[in-house]
Amino acid sequence: MKPSSSYPPPVVDNMELVTEHPINLCSMVAKAHHPKAGAIVLFSGEVRNHSHKRPVSHLFYECYKPMAEKMITKIVAEAKVKFNLHEALCVHRVGKVQIEETAVVVITASSHRNEAYEANRYIIDRVKHEAPIWKKEFFEDGTHEWGHNCSCHAH
């Protein structure tokens, strides 16, 4: 992970679920250790420098914060029960996020690795599709475009 663009680098210590500050993966993993856990899986959704074959300069995430936090809390709680997790954490960035920075992180801890892997996928898929968070891609050529990676709620 590259050094943060802001200094001092804020740490997600108070476990905001939606944060404008860079996410510190190490400090998050430190919170996921559990005496009953034989496996911890960490997924970091990162900002890549291209999208649809176009060079990307950075992303901007907007969210409806109270509802996004409520939904992330619910998804994580459901995953903990469904997959018998000992710990589960999810934090999403909002605002401007630079290339190589973490936009979203999901950490799952379980007795055995299968549950941690499966639960991690379950949480990120649901957060991406359900939480009211929106990505705007800014391209190197100065143009920008709202993301449209989900059309699951057609009515």
Binding site: P66, A103, K135, S151, A154
Partner: protein, 80 residues
């Protein structure tokens, strides 16, 4: 009666982030979406795929609006 409307993300390309609408009593969420779609026809493809929330809970298109309620129009998510 008056209802308040808030929109997010791509919908702000078509509407003010917050605006009010004067409507007849007894109208449903789906009626409101039809009304604002007329104001900005290019928004229709997004509005058709949007959900609506009141007090941080999603409501169905059949929900009947009350005076001074605030509805949040939530376009399809694109987090992650």
């Amino acid at each position: 009666m008056i209802v308040n409307i808030k929109v997010f993300a791509v919908l702000k390309d078509y509407f003010e982030p917050e605006f009010t609408l004067e409507i007849n009593e007894g109208l449903k969420i789906s009626d409101i979406l039809d009304i604002i779609m007329v104001k900005s026809p290019f928004s229709s493809s997004v509005l058709f795929r949007s959900r609506v929330a009141i007090c941080e809970n999603f409501v169905s298109p059949d929900y009947i609006l009350k005076e001074n309620e605030t509805i949040f129009i939530i376009p399809p998510s694109s987090g992650g």
